[in-house]
């Protein structure tokens, strides 16, 4: 077929255009993200990593770390270190990592004046929140006497640790469930950075999020905060992070409804009953373990007090009370814009 001169010009122009866009496509060097989802620590764990090294290997290493931590710090696994400490009626010598996690938890309990308390094991078991995802879980409301008794066997002041030896007094039981997810996120981020300091991505453990590095190496991750009373996809705010962690505590994740009343898993260490005045708290902090503890503490303390306390401890927060009124720390607005 003989083509006209104009057609030849068009063909050449088209090929040039195609070449131009092909070169652009290959030069943009947009990192591809390797992503895996698993179940650990009683929740969904999603690890998303982009690396010039083997991203799949890095993701697997992070997930293995989550499973290791779950096995070690679970309260329901009878062979875990925490179960061994809780069952023992004498001082228990623990490894360096366990000592660190317990000491850090106690420090966070002191910093929040006990609003976060890692020694509420008896209360949590009494309410059944440690078994709430089991298929045979049957909700019940403990009596006032039972709660009074469990309160007497609770409180971080009864946990002593010295030279890696843990002593539990007054029959208290440890439950690190409120911080161990955060600790696992922190460990996961450390592992990624050890394997590739330039890796980017994030770890999302049950919607507690730790940022490994900026999106595509330089951009912000847009993180929406779920409306605690809205449907999936309804948000109360959006923040932008390139680093750090963000954790939310809500009354809508682990709860049961009995006689029309909602009973959720965040227990007030002073009353022994689920907290009523707050329905959602979100905290941004450099470390996920701290964010986890601060979020729980803010839930117990309420927005007004937390708005003052959190920045002193190194966090920023957004709070919603039971009237669905929102409040926030002064520094929260910093994260509401890309800057």
């Amino acid at each position: 077929m003989k083509l006209s001169r104009n057609s030849w010009i068009l063909i050449i122009a088209f090929i040039c255009l195609l070449l131009f866009f092909s070169i652009l496509f290959f030069l943009r060097s947009e990192p591809e993200y390797c992503s895996k989802v698993d179940i650990s620590l009683g929740t969904t764990v999603k690890v998303v990593v982009s690396s010039e090294k083997d991203a799949g290997l890095i993701v697997d290493a992070v997930l293995r770390e989550f499973h290791r931590i779950e096995k070690k710090f679970s309260v329901t696994d009878s062979k875990s270190v925490i179960s061994l400490i809780n069952k023992s009626d004498h001082p228990v010598e623990v490894d360096e990592e366990t000592a660190f996690v317990i000491e850090r938890s106690l420090a966070l309990a002191r910093a929040t004046e006990g609003a976060f308390d890692p020694a509420l094991g008896n209360l949590i078991t009494l309410w059944g929140f440690d078994r709430i995802t089991n298929n045979d879980f049957e909700p019940h409301i403990p009596s006032d006497n039972e709660i009074e008794e469990a309160l007497g066997k609770s409180g971080y002041e009864n946990v002593l640790i010295e030279n890696d030896v843990v002593i539990l007094e007054n029959s208290v039981k440890l439950d690190l469930g409120a911080v161990v997810k955060g600790y696992a996120i922190d460990r996961g981020i450390s592992i990624v950075r050890e394997m590739d300091p330039d890796a980017t991505g994030y770890i999302d453990a049950g919607r507690d999020i730790g940022i490994i590095g900026p999106k595509f190496g330089g951009d912000y991750w847009s993180i929406a905060i779920q409306d605690p009373r809205g449907d999936s996809g309804e948000y109360i705010d959006v923040v932008y992070l390139k680093k750090g962690t963000i954790v939310t505590s809500g009354d809508y994740e682990r709860f049961f409804i009995l006689d029309g009343e909602r009973y959720h898993h965040i227990i007030n260490p002073k009353t022994g009953y689920p907290v009523r005045k707050t329905i959602s708290t979100t905290v941004i902090s450099p470390d996920a373990m701290d964010a986890d503890a601060f979020s729980t503490a803010a839930f117990v303390l309420g927005g007004e007090f937390s708005a003052v306390l959190l920045p002193v401890l190194g966090g920023q927060g957004l709070f919603m009370n039971s009237e669905q009124e929102m409040s926030q720390t002064e520094g929260w607005s910093f994260f509401q814009e890309k800057r």
Partner: protein, 138 residues
């Protein structure tokens, strides 16, 4: 000037000469294919359902209807496939948190108590370079 101009033979630009139509059609077809290639859709994707870390079921998102998920002869949940999307319905878990949202919204559906993970079969994670929401906390 007028005299000179009258001697210049002006060639008219004819974009649609009869013999070139086939060429233009080929280019048009190519552009259409490229556009549809890049159009994001879950249609045609295979969904993997793993229970306790082992892939037990494969479904095509084109295969609309309700699928029953079982383990050891016991029903765990139903999956509803419609409009190239999927959601969990009638889960046997206590909290039913897995019934919130769809596969298209979340990218993955998980039932923690029954250790069921539902993902789309693909290698890379399509993180978009836009102002859309990347992650949700809470």
């Amino acid at each position: 000037m007028i005299g000179i101009k009258s001697h210049v033979k002006c060639r008219q630009w004819k974009l649609f000469q009869k013999r070139d139509i086939l060429l233009y059609l080929i280019i048009l077809l190519f552009v259409v294919i490229v556009i549809f290639w890049g159009y994001p859709s879950l249609k045609g994707n295979t969904v993997l359902v793993s229970i306790n870390g082992v892939v037990q079921y494969h479904f095509s998102l084109d295969d609309e209807g309700t699928k029953r998920i079982e383990s050891n002869g016991k029903k765990l949940m139903d999956l509803l496939i419609a409009d190239a999307d999927m959601r969990i319905i009638d889960s046997q878990c206590p909290l039913h948190l897995c019934e919130r949202g769809t596969l298209k919204q979340a990218g993955v559906l998980v039932c923690v108590p029954q250790e069921v993970i539902i993902t789309i079969e693909r290698q890379g994670e399509p993180v978009k370079q836009t102002d859309e929401i990347d992650l949700i906390t809470g």
